[in-house]
């Protein structure tokens, strides 16, 4: 039994290197055989959270970290910028401009002094003040990386067209069918031949952004950007705003005064339709968030099961399952990007549709 437990952290390290983007910071490792299930559960929960430093992996049971700190930017009676290394992975209180901050469950709280503590209420919620937080977190770094990759990739592709008389070269050869797919199978059928052009920039960007970000979530270094509700909310909000601002007379007429139904029904339908315009992007937000989060939770749970079973049959079956699920997640990464783009295009199409047939 002792031998088994000693073995577990080592195998868990391998898991970390391949799938866990950042390690537990506040796990108090208990020498007397900590509960592996709880440990794995905590790993998964932490994996789903954002982080203030860029940890590639941890070892020695989460006491040593490999990675680099990221800047923390706070607005708390003035701008405060300091390195996240000051938190020492959540173990110490950071001081900046006369104020003291502490990490608690992946969030920054203000504390009274150098030895200040987080005060929790009955529901285990911290009651400390939260400063406005604009830190460059790990997810922000990843978004910036995807930004850079996409800009590099597509601006090069655009240049290769110019150099080769309108023919793509290199990555452009691979990317062009996808770009054309977005145009011919997503934008044109949903929005219409005449009006699709001005939405193409957004649709293409959102498609490739979500796809690449999801793929990064499956790499060992990656974290899953799209399982942050803030990111999916931002994307859904942009879709909502574009839909609302490009809505024509017909679109609003169908919301507030549905043609072809009796007047009492019109009055009942108006609030429902109005609510529907908000529910649609809300569903977009939740769908992307939930799919990626669920995928990661299930995948990591199955990887964790390998260590819980700890026998050749169960572990190898779990491995097989994890492998198959990993491939499925690759599909889901593209599928969610596709669904998000198609639904956005569909909403734009509804907003600009001409109802000639009425």
């Amino acid at each position: 039994m002792r031998k088994k437990i000693a073995f577990k952290p080592v195998t868990l390290l391998l898991l970390l290197i391949t799938f866990i983007s950042f390690a537990k910071e506040d796990v108090k490792h208990e020498e007397s055989g900590s509960d592996l299930k709880t440990e794995i559960k905590e790993y998964i929960q932490h994996h789903l959270l954002d982080s203030y430093d860029f940890n590639l992996f941890s070892y020695d049971n989460g006491e040593k970290h490999f990675g680099f700190p990221l800047p923390v930017i706070l607005w708390d009676n003035g701008l405060k910028v300091f390195s996240s290394s000051k938190f020492h992975h959540g173990e110490t209180v950071a001081e900046a401009g006369g104020s003291y901050y502490k990490l608690h469950h992946g969030k920054i709280y203000k504390v009274d002094g150098p030895n200040g503590e987080i005060i929790e209420d009955d529901h285990h919620h911290a009651t400390n003040q939260k400063p406005l937080d604009f830190s460059i977190t790990k997810n922000v770094v990843l978004i910036a990386m995807v930004f850079a990759i996409m800009f590099f990739m597509f601006s090069r592709m655009a240049k290769s067209y110019k150099k080769n008389n309108g023919m793509p070269k290199g990555t452009g050869r691979f990317l062009e069918p996808i770009v054309l797919y977005v145009r011919d199978e997503i934008a044109i059928p949903n929005i219409g031949e005449k009006k699709y052009k001005k939405y193409m920039s957004y649709l293409l960007t959102v498609f490739f952004f979500v796809w690449i970000v999801n793929l990064f979530g499956l790499t060992p270094i990656g974290m899953n950007v799209t399982n942050n509700i803030a990111v999916t909310l931002c994307l859904a909000l942009i879709t909502y705003l574009i839909t609302t601002f490009s809505g024509n007379k017909n679109y609003w007429k169908h919301i507030f005064w549905m043609p072809g139904v009796p007047v009492p029904m019109k009055i009942i339908l108006a609030p429902i339709e109005l609510l529907g315009t908000i529910i649609k992007p809300f569903a977009l937000m939740i769908r992307l968030y939930a799919n990626i989060t669920a995928g990661h939770v299930v995948l990591m749970s199955i990887i964790g099961m390998m260590f819980i079973f700890n026998n050749w049959l169960g572990s190898s079956l779990s491995f097989l399952l994890a492998f198959v699920l990993g491939i499925l997640e690759l599909l889901v990464a593209a599928l969610q990007a596709y669904i998000f783009t198609v639904l956005s295009a569909l909403y734009f199409g509804m907003a600009v549709e001409d109802h000639d047939h009425h």
């Binding site: 922000v140 910036a144 800009f151 655009a158 145009r183 960007t205 942009i238």
Partner: protein
Amino acid sequence: MEELFGGFSLGLFFWQAVLFLALVFLLRKFAWKPILDSVNNREEGIKNALEAAENAKKEMENLQADNQKLLKEARAEREEMLKEARDIKNKMIEDAKGEAQDQANKMIKQAQDAIESEKKAAMAELKSQVAGISLDIAEKVVRQELSNKDKQLKLVESMLGEAKLN
């Protein structure tokens, strides 16, 4: 639900919004516009080229049809010309024949006329000679008569024998 929105981070939302919108605008300027324009141009080019090829093919067909028509016309014309030439030839032969016939007839007639007149002249001369001879004979007979009756008779007889030859 509470956990869902408890995890909401304003900072991440802010950065995502800033970076994503910047990405949309940058890519629109530096990537999507040139890419889609190039693709559109290319598609347009292909479409035009196909159309041009189709047109050329049609033109070719027209040209070929024209050629065929021209050839047919030329053939018909040749046929016509040949026929005309044959007709002319026949007519010429016919004419020549007719004329030759006429000429021949005329010549024959002239010849006949000439013969007739020659004959008449000959007859007239004969007559006159016969008359002369007759006179001579008569003269000689008369002279002989006067000298010898027998001799005169013999003379007449011999004279007549001579005269018969004519």
